[in-house]
């Protein structure tokens, strides 16, 4: 091996080394570890202002709330739902204590699947139609208003889709937002 050839190989190797190091650095920057959740900048929570549809005496009104979320749509749906499930300052709860979010799924066609569970209860809480509309559309309207990737919502109860949620509203198909419930 003459000196020129060795120098060429060395140069090539150094270029590869530099390229490899750059790739490694970019990879580490984008992906994070498996425990750190979704990727890179998308996984970094930041404060975002959301319009949440919350129940009042006769329907739903819109409140602005700032939530720490990533840019991942499923994460946003999860955060919005969890926020709506927590009791409001005026004491009104969207669902009884113990109702929790078990999972969120977002399909390619823009359907968000929101799975609620209530340990020890096979059925959702019994209610009249207005209460049922408030419960269901608080979630549907808030999700579809704030997460453009979700244009409709399928509500699951204990992992199952129900013909109606509490005896009135047809929940056998995905729900699109119902603006008529807005009171102010």
């Amino acid at each position: 091996m003459n000196r020129r050839a060795a120098a060429f190989i060395l140069g090539l190797a150094l270029a590869l080394l530099a390229g490899g190091a750059l790739w490694w650095w970019l990879q580490g920057r984008d992906s994070g570890g498996p425990e750190s959740g979704p990727a890179g900048s998308a996984a970094k929570p930041a404060p975002v202002s959301f319009e949440l549809w919350v129940p009042d005496g006769i329907g739903l009104h819109v409140e602005r709330r700032e939530l720490q979320v990533t840019s991942v749509p499923k994460d946003r749906i999860r955060r919005i739902t969890e926020t709506l499930l927590t009791p409001r300052p005026d004491g009104v709860r969207l669902f009884p204590e113990g109702v929790a979010l078990a999972g969120v799924q977002l399909s390619k066609d823009g359907t968000a699947y929101v799975n609620l569970v209530w340990e020890g209860h096979e059925d959702p809480p019994p209610s009249g139609s207005t209460e049922e509309l408030q419960r269901v559309y608080s979630l549907v309207n808030s999700i579809t208003t704030n997460v453009p990737e979700a244009r409709q919502v399928t509500l699951l109860w204990n992992g199952l889709q129900r013909p109606t949620f509490a005896g009135h509203l047809d929940t056998s198909r995905p729900l699109t937002p119902m603006a008529a419930l807005r009171t102010r």
Binding site: Q27, A42, D123, Q134, Q161, H168, D170
Partner: protein, 540 residues
């Protein structure tokens, strides 16, 4: 010489270094492998047709988990991750399976499937449980999966051909013929369309034809032949067929029509005797019942009890005052599916359907009555699905991808039934609301529209009336007072009387007075469709 050797060595090391760096980086991306299962007798393996597959197998908390990517490589299909790596889309035989890491619910096409344990990351790949494989590769591609825990083996085989019975219904209704092929379990099949005929070709499975040969003397379907390999539907000249799938039980439904008649159903044939417009039969539906209590008031009164009381009182008043026939959907405290309630109305050829409810609200202060009719959104959705089915008639879309939301749907016609009566339903709702406002001086919550299931299949003007909030202590108390209820009943009776007079004094039949009766096949029908049947109709 020494310099040259040193340079060569340096070059070699430099060449190897990026490789080592890349390998380290790749390893950093992968999660730590799960701890080995305690007392696993041997390394788990996967076998297909006796040959060992390089499929990572891990023992999860409730059973084994299998590396999906390796299975996709061996069994076919594609697997794509979303940009965040949080969800994956597996495509098998043209159907998308959406998987969320950590979620025990996946979507398979339009269906939602619950898994025994959630898919997870591990072994450098996505790991899925056994039932995931059975519900995806098993159902969609005909593979059988068996986990043998004793020997820690996943045995994969191509499922043997099944012999599946098929049942045939052919019904001609409103200018359209519906052919229904019903199976006790979903076969593997494809639909092939050719001019003048449609074939349902089995893929691996075989059909057990019905004992009696099907007869199909129909204006649009010349014949249906069932052989072990296929069902052939022979169409009349010019007829077109669109198809969709219904679940529970599994059915492939073909709507056959002439292009000029699609998609709107035409008026019934001349054989059907025309009755003068009127309100002769009214079906009252006391909301909820049985284990479904409906709203519960502060004193513990349940909506289902009060709605039955109100319905019985209204029944007596309507029969005595308006001379109409009244049918209650339930006359006892019993569960009754929503579709069965409208089925009772359709079977009784009711002229009006009134579902009686009492309301509740989150938050304080809600009071008053409101009257609902079906939302345009709900009826639009049914029409959209009909249109999608029509669009699929050309065969451009593969079976099952017409966008139909088949879950819990009985028939598209069933869903469309109320669509033809929305205008009259709105008119009737306005009359009820007007009377309630005027007589009782209740807060006017107005006429509203919502996607209420109980109004969906009604083939006549149909409303759901909320006669007050039992979540409001004052209204709850009033609703338990007989005198107050009498006033409510009187105002409802007046509204029904006004509507009855309106219909009977019209110079012409109303714009949408031809009820589509999905439960009633026309004369000459060669079979019957099966709309929802009531389980325990409490009729008087």
């Amino acid at each position: 010489m020494k310099d040259r050797r040193f340079l060569g060595f340096l070059a070699l090391v430099s060449l190897l270094l990026p490789v080592l760096v890349a390998a380290q980086a790749q390893r950093a991306q992968l999660p730590a492998p799960p701890p080995p299962a305690a007392a696993a007798p041997r390394q788990p393996i996967a076998l297909i047709d006796g040959a060992e597959l390089p499929v990572p197998v891990t023992l999860g908390p409730t059973g084994p988990l299998f590396g999906l990517a390796a299975l996709v490589n061996n069994l076919g299909g594609t697997l794509e991750a979303d940009e965040a790596g949080e969800s994956f889309t597996l495509t098998i035989e043209g159907k998308d399976v959406v998987i969320g890491v950590g979620s025990a619910i996946v979507t398979v096409g339009d269906n939602i499937v619950s898994l025994s344990q959630p898919p997870t990351r591990g072994e450098g790949t996505l790991l899925v449980p056994l039932d995931f494989l059975q519900k995806t590769y098993g159902d969609l591609a005909g593979f059988a999966f068996e986990w043998r825990p004793g020997v820690q083996q996943l045995v994969i085989s191509r499922r043997a051909a099944r012999e599946i019975p098929v049942f045939l219904d052919v019904v001609h209704l409103q200018g359209m013929t519906t052919v229904v092929l019903q199976f006790p379990e979903a076969p593997r099949y494809q639909v092939l369309r050719q001019p003048g005929q449609v074939d349902v070709q089995m893929m691996g499975d075989r059909l057990a034809p019905p004992p009696a040969p099907p007869v199909a003397t129909d204006p649009l379907v010349q014949g249906v032949t069932i052989a072990p390999e296929q069902v052939r539907i022979q169409l009349a000249p010019g007829a077109q067929a669109s198809s969709y799938v219904l679940e529970n039980p599994f059915r492939i439904v073909f709507d056959v029509h002439l292009p000029s008649q699609a998609p709107a159903p035409v008026a019934p044939g001349p054989a059907a005797p025309q009755q003068a417009p009127g309100v002769r039969t009214i079906v009252l539906d006391p909301g909820h019942g049985g284990t479904e209590t409906g709203a519960i008031g502060p004193s513990g009164i349940q909506e289902k009890e009060l709605t039955l009381t109100l319905a019985r009182e209204l029944e007596a008043r309507l029969e005595s005052q308006l001379g109409v026939r009244v049918v209650l959907t339930r006359n006892e405290d019993a569960n009754l599916p929503h579709d069965a309630r409208t089925a009772i109305a359709n079977q009784n050829k009711a002229d009006l359907f009134i579902s009686i409810h009492l309301n509740s609200s989150l938050g304080a202060g809600a009071h008053g009555a409101e009257t609902y009719f079906l939302s345009a959104e709900a009826s639009d959705a049914a029409a959209e699905r009909m249109a999608e089915a029509e669009n699929a008639a050309g065969g451009a879309l593969p079976e099952g991808t017409a966008g139909l939301e088949a879950q819990d749907l009985e028939l598209i016609l069933w869903d469309l039934a109320q669509t033809h009566h929305l205008l009259e339903s709105q008119r009737f709702a306005a009359m009820i609301q007007g009377e309630l406002n005027q007589t009782l001086q209740l807060r006017d919550r107005g006429v509203k529209q919502a996607r209420f299931r109980v109004l969906n299949g009604a083939a006549m003007p149909a409303v759901l009336v909320e006669l007050g909030f039992i979540s409001n202590p004052d209204e709850e108390k009033k609703l338990q007072d007989g005198a107050y209820r009498t006033e409510l009943i009187a105002s409802l009776t007046r509204a029904i009387g006004r509507y009855k007079a309106l219909v009977e004094n019209r110079p012409e039949p109303p714009q949408v007075s031809q009820p589509v009766q999905p439960a009633q096949p026309s004369p000459g029908a060669t079979g019957t469709t099966r709309p929802p049947q009531p389980r325990s109709p409490g009729r008087r």
